[in-house]
Amino acid sequence: MRLRRDWSYGALLLAGGALVLLGRSEPLSQNAQASPAEARAVVRGGRAEPSLFRLGSSFVTDDGKAITFADLRGEVQVLALIFTRCPSLCPTLVADLRRLEQRLPQRVAATTRFTLVSIDPEHDTPEVLRAYRERMKLGPRWTLLRGDLDSVRELAAVLGFSFGSDGRTPAVHSKLVTLLGREGQVLHQQAGVADDPERILALIAPAP
Protein backbone atom coordinates (compact mmCIF):
# COMPACT_ATOMS: atom_id res chain seq x y z
CA MET A 1 0.00 0.00 0.00
CA ARG A 2 2.76 2.35 0.96
CA LEU A 3 4.67 1.61 -2.19
CA ARG A 4 1.59 2.20 -4.25
CA ARG A 5 0.88 5.51 -2.57
CA ASP A 6 4.41 6.76 -3.10
CA TRP A 7 4.30 5.75 -6.69
CA SER A 8 1.00 7.45 -7.32
CA TYR A 9 2.05 10.58 -5.46
CA GLY A 10 5.08 10.68 -7.72
CA ALA A 11 2.80 10.42 -10.74
CA LEU A 12 0.83 13.44 -9.57
CA LEU A 13 3.95 15.50 -9.02
CA LEU A 14 5.37 14.37 -12.33
CA ALA A 15 2.34 15.60 -14.21
CA GLY A 16 2.17 18.81 -12.19
CA GLY A 17 5.88 19.49 -12.45
CA ALA A 18 5.79 19.14 -16.20
CA LEU A 19 2.86 21.55 -16.45
CA VAL A 20 4.64 24.07 -14.27
CA LEU A 21 7.78 23.82 -16.38
CA LEU A 22 5.74 24.77 -19.44
CA GLY A 23 5.22 28.13 -17.81
CA ARG A 24 8.79 28.85 -16.82
CA SER A 25 10.62 31.71 -18.46
CA GLU A 26 14.14 30.74 -17.43
CA PRO A 27 16.36 27.88 -18.54
CA LEU A 28 15.76 24.66 -16.68
CA SER A 29 19.36 24.12 -15.74
CA GLN A 30 19.48 27.25 -13.62
CA ASN A 31 17.40 25.84 -10.79
CA ALA A 32 17.54 22.14 -11.48
CA GLN A 33 21.20 21.82 -10.57
CA ALA A 34 21.39 23.81 -7.39
CA SER A 35 20.35 22.67 -3.92
CA PRO A 36 17.52 24.68 -2.34
CA ALA A 37 19.92 26.71 -0.22
CA GLU A 38 22.19 27.43 -3.15
CA ALA A 39 19.31 28.23 -5.47
CA ARG A 40 18.03 30.80 -3.04
CA ALA A 41 21.46 32.19 -2.37
CA VAL A 42 22.07 32.99 -6.03
CA VAL A 43 22.05 36.75 -6.39
CA ARG A 44 19.25 37.33 -8.83
CA GLY A 45 19.42 40.49 -10.92
CA GLY A 46 20.93 42.41 -8.04
CA ARG A 47 18.09 41.51 -5.71
CA ALA A 48 18.63 40.72 -2.06
CA GLU A 49 18.40 37.19 -0.77
CA PRO A 50 14.88 36.20 0.28
CA SER A 51 14.39 36.29 4.02
CA LEU A 52 11.47 35.03 6.04
CA PHE A 53 11.84 38.14 8.16
CA ARG A 54 10.17 40.04 5.30
CA LEU A 55 6.88 38.43 6.24
CA GLY A 56 4.89 41.14 7.96
CA SER A 57 2.67 38.68 9.78
CA SER A 58 2.71 38.86 13.54
CA PHE A 59 2.45 35.94 15.92
CA VAL A 60 1.81 35.46 19.62
CA THR A 61 4.10 33.30 21.77
CA ASP A 62 2.78 30.79 24.28
CA ASP A 63 3.42 33.32 27.03
CA GLY A 64 1.26 35.86 25.25
CA LYS A 65 3.95 38.09 23.72
CA ALA A 66 3.31 39.52 20.23
CA ILE A 67 6.29 39.04 17.88
CA THR A 68 7.17 38.93 14.20
CA PHE A 69 9.71 36.57 12.70
CA ALA A 70 12.15 39.46 12.48
CA ASP A 71 12.25 39.51 16.29
CA LEU A 72 13.97 36.14 16.13
CA ARG A 73 16.84 37.61 14.12
CA GLY A 74 20.38 36.67 15.10
CA GLU A 75 19.85 33.00 15.89
CA VAL A 76 19.78 29.90 13.74
CA GLN A 77 16.27 28.46 13.86
CA VAL A 78 14.89 25.00 13.34
CA LEU A 79 11.31 25.62 12.24
CA ALA A 80 8.37 23.23 12.01
CA LEU A 81 4.62 23.60 11.55
CA ILE A 82 2.49 21.55 13.94
CA PHE A 83 -0.85 21.51 15.72
CA THR A 84 -1.47 20.24 19.22
CA ARG A 85 -4.44 18.01 18.34
CA CYS A 86 -2.30 16.19 15.77
CA PRO A 87 -2.44 12.55 16.86
CA SER A 88 0.84 11.00 15.78
CA LEU A 89 2.79 12.85 13.11
CA CYS A 90 3.52 16.02 15.10
CA PRO A 91 4.38 14.43 18.48
CA THR A 92 6.83 12.16 16.68
CA LEU A 93 8.33 15.10 14.84
CA VAL A 94 8.64 17.17 18.02
CA ALA A 95 10.23 14.24 19.88
CA ASP A 96 12.72 13.82 17.02
CA LEU A 97 13.53 17.54 17.18
CA ARG A 98 14.12 17.25 20.94
CA ARG A 99 16.59 14.45 20.32
CA LEU A 100 18.26 16.68 17.75
CA GLU A 101 18.49 19.45 20.35
CA GLN A 102 20.14 17.08 22.81
CA ARG A 103 22.77 16.20 20.22
CA LEU A 104 23.78 19.81 19.55
CA PRO A 105 27.34 20.61 20.62
CA GLN A 106 27.49 23.06 23.49
CA ARG A 107 29.07 25.82 21.41
CA VAL A 108 25.93 26.13 19.21
CA ALA A 109 23.21 25.02 21.62
CA ALA A 110 22.82 28.48 23.13
CA THR A 111 22.35 30.16 19.74
CA THR A 112 20.02 27.65 18.13
CA ARG A 113 16.30 28.15 18.48
CA PHE A 114 13.53 25.65 17.88
CA THR A 115 10.36 27.31 16.62
CA LEU A 116 7.01 25.56 16.34
CA VAL A 117 4.17 27.37 14.60
CA SER A 118 0.64 26.09 15.00
CA ILE A 119 -1.39 25.55 11.84
CA ASP A 120 -4.56 25.24 13.91
CA PRO A 121 -4.85 28.76 15.38
CA GLU A 122 -8.54 28.38 16.21
CA HIS A 123 -7.79 25.69 18.75
CA ASP A 124 -4.16 26.40 19.66
CA THR A 125 -4.44 29.48 21.84
CA PRO A 126 -1.35 30.61 23.79
CA GLU A 127 -2.71 28.70 26.81
CA VAL A 128 -3.08 25.50 24.80
CA LEU A 129 0.44 25.96 23.43
CA ARG A 130 1.80 26.50 26.93
CA ALA A 131 0.22 23.24 28.05
CA TYR A 132 1.72 21.58 24.97
CA ARG A 133 5.15 22.93 25.92
CA GLU A 134 4.83 21.28 29.32
CA ARG A 135 3.43 18.05 27.96
CA MET A 136 6.22 17.74 25.41
CA LYS A 137 8.88 18.91 27.94
CA LEU A 138 10.22 21.68 25.73
CA GLY A 139 13.06 23.76 27.12
CA PRO A 140 13.77 27.51 27.07
CA ARG A 141 15.27 27.38 23.56
CA TRP A 142 11.83 26.56 22.14
CA THR A 143 9.41 29.17 20.84
CA LEU A 144 5.77 28.22 20.26
CA LEU A 145 3.81 30.56 18.01
CA ARG A 146 0.22 31.18 17.10
CA GLY A 147 -0.82 33.45 14.22
CA ASP A 148 -4.09 34.12 12.43
CA LEU A 149 -5.04 31.76 9.62
CA ASP A 150 -3.79 34.12 6.93
CA SER A 151 -0.36 34.55 8.56
CA VAL A 152 -0.05 30.79 8.87
CA ARG A 153 -1.13 30.33 5.26
CA GLU A 154 1.54 32.79 4.09
CA LEU A 155 4.23 31.16 6.17
CA ALA A 156 3.24 27.74 4.85
CA ALA A 157 3.28 29.08 1.30
CA VAL A 158 6.77 30.51 1.73
CA LEU A 159 8.07 27.25 3.17
CA GLY A 160 6.39 25.03 0.58
CA PHE A 161 4.36 23.26 3.24
CA SER A 162 1.31 21.36 1.97
CA PHE A 163 -1.95 21.02 3.83
CA GLY A 164 -4.35 18.09 3.53
CA SER A 165 -7.67 18.19 1.74
CA ASP A 166 -9.34 20.13 4.55
CA GLY A 167 -6.82 22.95 4.07
CA ARG A 168 -5.79 22.77 7.73
CA THR A 169 -4.00 19.61 8.74
CA PRO A 170 -0.66 18.64 7.23
CA ALA A 171 -0.62 16.47 4.13
CA VAL A 172 0.97 13.05 4.26
CA HIS A 173 4.28 14.30 2.96
CA SER A 174 4.53 17.50 4.97
CA LYS A 175 6.76 16.51 7.89
CA LEU A 176 8.72 19.52 6.82
CA VAL A 177 11.63 20.85 8.88
CA THR A 178 13.25 24.10 7.79
CA LEU A 179 16.60 25.48 8.94
CA LEU A 180 16.66 29.28 8.96
CA GLY A 181 19.85 31.31 9.01
CA ARG A 182 20.47 34.26 11.30
CA GLU A 183 18.92 36.65 8.79
CA GLY A 184 15.87 34.48 8.12
CA GLN A 185 17.13 32.87 4.91
CA VAL A 186 16.10 29.27 4.25
CA LEU A 187 19.35 27.29 4.54
CA HIS A 188 17.95 23.81 4.29
CA GLN A 189 14.73 21.79 4.30
CA GLN A 190 14.10 18.12 4.90
CA ALA A 191 11.20 15.80 5.67
CA GLY A 192 11.51 14.87 9.33
CA VAL A 193 14.78 14.51 11.23
CA ALA A 194 14.50 10.88 12.37
CA ASP A 195 15.98 9.26 9.26
CA ASP A 196 18.73 11.71 8.53
CA PRO A 197 19.64 13.93 11.52
CA GLU A 198 23.27 14.17 10.44
CA ARG A 199 22.60 16.50 7.54
CA ILE A 200 20.86 19.16 9.56
CA LEU A 201 23.28 18.71 12.48
CA ALA A 202 26.23 19.33 10.18
CA LEU A 203 24.61 22.53 8.94
CA ILE A 204 23.85 23.85 12.43
CA ALA A 205 27.23 22.87 13.83
CA PRO A 206 29.86 22.52 11.11
CA ALA A 207 32.95 20.68 12.30
CA PRO A 208 35.31 23.26 13.87
Binding site: L12, S25, A32, G164, Q189
Partner: protein, 259 residues
Protein backbone atom coordinates in the same frame (compact mmCIF):
# COMPACT_ATOMS: atom_id res chain seq x y z
CA UNK B 1 11.67 22.29 -7.69
CA UNK B 2 14.69 20.66 -6.23
CA UNK B 3 13.28 21.06 -2.74
CA UNK B 4 10.50 18.70 -3.75
CA UNK B 5 13.04 16.19 -4.93
CA UNK B 6 14.75 16.34 -1.59
CA UNK B 7 11.57 15.86 0.34
CA UNK B 8 9.60 13.25 -1.41
CA UNK B 9 10.33 12.60 -5.04
CA UNK B 10 11.62 9.24 -5.99
CA UNK B 11 14.77 9.95 -7.96
CA UNK B 12 13.37 8.16 -10.95
CA UNK B 13 10.47 10.60 -11.05
CA UNK B 14 13.01 13.39 -11.23
CA UNK B 15 14.69 11.80 -14.22
CA UNK B 16 11.39 11.24 -15.95
CA UNK B 17 10.39 14.79 -15.28
CA UNK B 18 13.65 16.14 -16.61
CA UNK B 19 13.27 14.21 -19.83
CA UNK B 20 9.65 15.24 -20.22
CA UNK B 21 10.58 18.84 -19.60
CA UNK B 22 13.16 18.79 -22.37
CA UNK B 23 10.49 17.64 -24.78
CA UNK B 24 7.90 20.14 -23.68
CA UNK B 25 9.95 23.28 -23.01
CA UNK B 26 8.82 26.08 -25.30
CA UNK B 27 10.91 28.69 -27.09
CA UNK B 28 11.47 31.56 -24.76
CA UNK B 29 13.35 34.11 -26.82
CA UNK B 30 10.77 36.85 -26.28
CA UNK B 31 10.84 36.47 -22.53
CA UNK B 32 14.49 36.84 -21.61
CA UNK B 33 14.82 38.32 -18.15
CA UNK B 34 15.68 41.99 -18.35
CA UNK B 35 17.75 44.01 -15.91
CA UNK B 36 15.82 45.26 -12.92
CA UNK B 37 16.21 48.44 -10.91
CA UNK B 38 18.18 48.20 -7.73
CA UNK B 39 15.97 47.28 -4.79
CA UNK B 40 14.74 50.06 -2.57
CA UNK B 41 15.45 49.96 1.14
CA UNK B 42 12.88 47.49 2.34
CA UNK B 43 10.33 48.13 4.99
CA UNK B 44 9.49 45.16 7.13
CA UNK B 45 5.75 45.20 6.68
CA UNK B 46 5.23 44.66 2.97
CA UNK B 47 2.48 42.12 2.71
CA UNK B 48 -0.16 43.95 4.67
CA UNK B 49 0.40 47.16 2.68
CA UNK B 50 -2.43 46.31 0.33
CA UNK B 51 -4.81 45.76 3.21
CA UNK B 52 -4.34 49.40 4.10
CA UNK B 53 -4.78 50.70 0.55
CA UNK B 54 -8.07 49.97 -1.15
CA UNK B 55 -8.97 50.41 -4.81
CA UNK B 56 -11.53 53.13 -5.53
CA UNK B 57 -14.90 51.61 -6.48
CA UNK B 58 -14.44 52.62 -10.14
CA UNK B 59 -11.37 50.40 -10.42
CA UNK B 60 -13.00 47.24 -9.07
CA UNK B 61 -13.49 44.52 -11.65
CA UNK B 62 -17.06 43.29 -12.27
CA UNK B 63 -18.09 40.08 -10.53
CA UNK B 64 -20.59 37.32 -11.12
CA UNK B 65 -22.71 35.75 -8.43
CA UNK B 66 -22.23 32.01 -8.01
CA UNK B 67 -25.26 30.30 -6.42
CA UNK B 68 -24.82 27.99 -3.42
CA UNK B 69 -24.67 24.31 -4.24
CA UNK B 70 -22.65 21.15 -3.84
CA UNK B 71 -19.31 20.32 -5.41
CA UNK B 72 -18.55 16.70 -6.15
CA UNK B 73 -14.82 16.37 -6.73
CA UNK B 74 -13.85 13.81 -9.34
CA UNK B 75 -11.71 12.17 -6.68
CA UNK B 76 -13.42 10.66 -3.64
CA UNK B 77 -11.75 10.04 -0.31
CA UNK B 78 -14.22 7.16 0.28
CA UNK B 79 -16.97 5.66 -1.86
CA UNK B 80 -19.61 7.22 0.39
CA UNK B 81 -17.85 10.55 1.00
CA UNK B 82 -20.41 13.35 1.11
CA UNK B 83 -20.22 16.07 -1.53
CA UNK B 84 -18.77 19.42 -0.42
CA UNK B 85 -21.36 22.14 0.10
CA UNK B 86 -20.38 25.56 -1.25
CA UNK B 87 -22.10 28.70 0.08
CA UNK B 88 -23.02 31.49 -2.33
CA UNK B 89 -20.08 33.68 -3.32
CA UNK B 90 -18.98 36.11 -6.02
CA UNK B 91 -16.22 35.64 -8.54
CA UNK B 92 -14.53 38.05 -10.96
CA UNK B 93 -16.07 37.67 -14.39
CA UNK B 94 -12.69 37.34 -16.09
CA UNK B 95 -9.10 36.84 -15.03
CA UNK B 96 -7.49 40.08 -13.79
CA UNK B 97 -6.26 42.19 -16.71
CA UNK B 98 -2.82 43.75 -17.04
CA UNK B 99 -4.49 47.16 -17.05
CA UNK B 100 -6.13 46.57 -13.69
CA UNK B 101 -2.95 45.09 -12.24
CA UNK B 102 -1.10 48.20 -13.47
CA UNK B 103 -3.54 50.38 -11.51
CA UNK B 104 -2.76 48.29 -8.45
CA UNK B 105 0.98 48.86 -8.97
CA UNK B 106 0.40 52.61 -9.16
CA UNK B 107 -1.48 52.54 -5.90
CA UNK B 108 0.78 50.07 -4.07
CA UNK B 109 4.30 50.60 -5.48
CA UNK B 110 5.92 47.96 -3.27
CA UNK B 111 4.58 45.35 -5.72
CA UNK B 112 6.28 46.88 -8.77
CA UNK B 113 8.69 44.70 -10.65
CA UNK B 114 11.78 46.53 -9.44
CA UNK B 115 10.60 46.87 -5.86
CA UNK B 116 9.03 43.55 -4.96
CA UNK B 117 10.64 41.47 -2.21
CA UNK B 118 12.32 38.35 -3.67
CA UNK B 119 10.55 36.31 -1.03
CA UNK B 120 7.22 37.19 -2.61
CA UNK B 121 7.99 36.90 -6.32
CA UNK B 122 10.71 35.15 -8.27
CA UNK B 123 12.76 36.98 -10.87
CA UNK B 124 10.31 36.20 -13.69
CA UNK B 125 7.67 38.38 -12.01
CA UNK B 126 5.95 40.52 -14.68
CA UNK B 127 8.78 39.67 -17.03
CA UNK B 128 6.62 40.31 -20.10
CA UNK B 129 5.85 43.92 -19.09
CA UNK B 130 7.41 46.88 -20.89
CA UNK B 131 9.23 50.02 -19.84
CA UNK B 132 12.56 50.57 -18.14
CA UNK B 133 11.07 49.76 -14.75
CA UNK B 134 8.98 46.95 -16.19
CA UNK B 135 5.70 48.41 -15.01
CA UNK B 136 3.93 49.15 -18.28
CA UNK B 137 1.47 46.51 -19.48
CA UNK B 138 2.35 45.09 -22.89
CA UNK B 139 -1.24 44.08 -23.61
CA UNK B 140 -3.60 45.97 -21.27
CA UNK B 141 -6.74 43.92 -21.90
CA UNK B 142 -5.05 40.52 -21.66
CA UNK B 143 -4.95 38.57 -18.38
CA UNK B 144 -1.95 39.43 -16.24
CA UNK B 145 0.48 36.49 -16.10
CA UNK B 146 3.89 36.02 -14.48
CA UNK B 147 2.36 36.92 -11.12
CA UNK B 148 3.18 35.15 -7.87
CA UNK B 149 0.60 33.92 -5.37
CA UNK B 150 1.63 36.70 -2.98
CA UNK B 151 1.12 39.38 -5.62
CA UNK B 152 -2.24 37.92 -6.65
CA UNK B 153 -3.28 37.81 -3.00
CA UNK B 154 -2.20 41.39 -2.41
CA UNK B 155 -4.04 42.57 -5.53
CA UNK B 156 -7.25 40.89 -4.37
CA UNK B 157 -6.92 42.48 -0.92
CA UNK B 158 -6.53 45.85 -2.66
CA UNK B 159 -9.78 45.14 -4.52
CA UNK B 160 -11.45 44.34 -1.19
CA UNK B 161 -11.61 40.69 -2.24
CA UNK B 162 -9.56 37.54 -1.83
CA UNK B 163 -8.39 34.63 -3.98
CA UNK B 164 -10.97 31.88 -4.49
CA UNK B 165 -10.41 28.56 -2.73
CA UNK B 166 -9.77 25.45 -4.81
CA UNK B 167 -13.30 24.25 -4.05
CA UNK B 168 -14.86 27.56 -5.09
CA UNK B 169 -12.80 27.71 -8.27
CA UNK B 170 -13.51 24.11 -9.25
CA UNK B 171 -17.20 24.45 -8.40
CA UNK B 172 -17.69 27.62 -10.43
CA UNK B 173 -15.35 27.11 -13.35
CA UNK B 174 -14.27 23.49 -13.34
CA UNK B 175 -17.64 21.88 -12.68
CA UNK B 176 -19.21 24.45 -14.95
CA UNK B 177 -21.49 26.41 -12.61
CA UNK B 178 -20.51 29.47 -14.60
CA UNK B 179 -20.10 27.39 -17.70
CA UNK B 180 -16.92 29.12 -18.77
CA UNK B 181 -13.19 28.58 -18.94
CA UNK B 182 -12.59 25.13 -17.59
CA UNK B 183 -15.74 23.27 -18.52
CA UNK B 184 -14.28 22.35 -21.88
CA UNK B 185 -12.44 19.03 -21.81
CA UNK B 186 -9.26 20.56 -23.21
CA UNK B 187 -6.09 21.79 -21.58
CA UNK B 188 -6.48 25.48 -20.79
CA UNK B 189 -3.98 28.01 -22.11
CA UNK B 190 -4.01 29.70 -18.70
CA UNK B 191 -4.22 28.24 -15.23
CA UNK B 192 -5.30 30.32 -12.24
CA UNK B 193 -4.04 30.78 -8.69
CA UNK B 194 -6.20 29.70 -5.75
CA UNK B 195 -5.94 30.74 -2.11
CA UNK B 196 -5.20 27.23 -0.85
CA UNK B 197 -3.22 25.90 -3.81
CA UNK B 198 -0.96 24.13 -1.32
CA UNK B 199 -3.73 21.88 -0.03
CA UNK B 200 -3.29 18.45 -1.50
CA UNK B 201 -6.48 16.50 -2.08
CA UNK B 202 -5.04 13.83 0.18
CA UNK B 203 -6.25 13.09 3.67
CA UNK B 204 -4.08 13.50 6.75
CA UNK B 205 -1.34 11.24 7.95
CA UNK B 206 -2.00 7.56 7.70
CA UNK B 207 -4.75 7.53 5.13
CA UNK B 208 -3.83 6.20 1.75
CA UNK B 209 -7.33 5.71 0.39
CA UNK B 210 -7.89 9.08 -1.20
CA UNK B 211 -4.30 9.29 -2.35
CA UNK B 212 -4.52 6.21 -4.48
CA UNK B 213 -8.05 7.14 -5.54
CA UNK B 214 -6.77 10.39 -6.88
CA UNK B 215 -3.32 9.65 -8.12
CA UNK B 216 -3.77 6.16 -9.43
CA UNK B 217 -7.42 5.99 -10.09
CA UNK B 218 -8.36 9.34 -11.43
CA UNK B 219 -5.89 9.47 -14.26
CA UNK B 220 -6.70 5.99 -15.46
CA UNK B 221 -10.36 5.63 -14.61
CA UNK B 222 -11.55 9.17 -15.27
CA UNK B 223 -15.17 9.14 -16.31
CA UNK B 224 -14.52 11.50 -19.16
CA UNK B 225 -11.97 13.94 -20.46
CA UNK B 226 -13.20 16.65 -18.10
CA UNK B 227 -12.15 14.55 -15.11
CA UNK B 228 -8.75 14.11 -16.66
CA UNK B 229 -8.32 17.86 -17.08
CA UNK B 230 -9.45 18.38 -13.48
CA UNK B 231 -6.84 15.83 -12.41
CA UNK B 232 -4.21 17.85 -14.27
CA UNK B 233 -5.35 21.04 -12.51
CA UNK B 234 -4.87 19.38 -9.12
CA UNK B 235 -1.51 18.08 -10.28
CA UNK B 236 -0.45 21.51 -11.52
CA UNK B 237 -1.39 23.20 -8.23
CA UNK B 238 0.50 20.64 -6.18
CA UNK B 239 3.71 21.57 -8.00
CA UNK B 240 3.43 25.32 -7.50
CA UNK B 241 5.36 27.44 -5.05
CA UNK B 242 3.99 30.74 -3.85
CA UNK B 243 6.76 32.84 -5.38
CA UNK B 244 6.44 31.29 -8.83
CA UNK B 245 5.65 33.65 -11.69
CA UNK B 246 4.70 31.63 -14.74
CA UNK B 247 3.68 32.46 -18.28
CA UNK B 248 0.63 30.19 -18.09
CA UNK B 249 -0.65 31.22 -14.66
CA UNK B 250 -3.16 34.04 -14.17
CA UNK B 251 -5.74 34.69 -11.43
CA UNK B 252 -9.07 36.21 -10.55
CA UNK B 253 -10.53 37.27 -7.19
CA UNK B 254 -13.54 36.12 -5.19
CA UNK B 255 -15.66 37.43 -2.36
CA UNK B 256 -17.80 35.45 0.04
CA UNK B 257 -21.21 36.64 1.19
CA UNK B 258 -20.67 39.17 3.97
CA UNK B 259 -16.92 39.57 3.35
Amino acid sequence: MRALFDLSWPWSTGLLLASFAVVTAKPRAALEARPIEQPQPASLRLVPASAETRAPAALRLPMLSVPAGVYRPFYRSAPDAPPISVPEFRLDQTPVTQKSFGQFLEDVPSWRRGRVEPLFAEVAYLTDWNGAAGDEPNEPDAPVRFVSWFAAKAYCAWQGKRLPTVVEWEYALGAGQLGSVASEPTLPALWEWTLDFNSLPVDGAGDSGSASQLFCGAGARARDARDYVAFLRYAFRSSLKASYALRNLAFRCAQGAGE
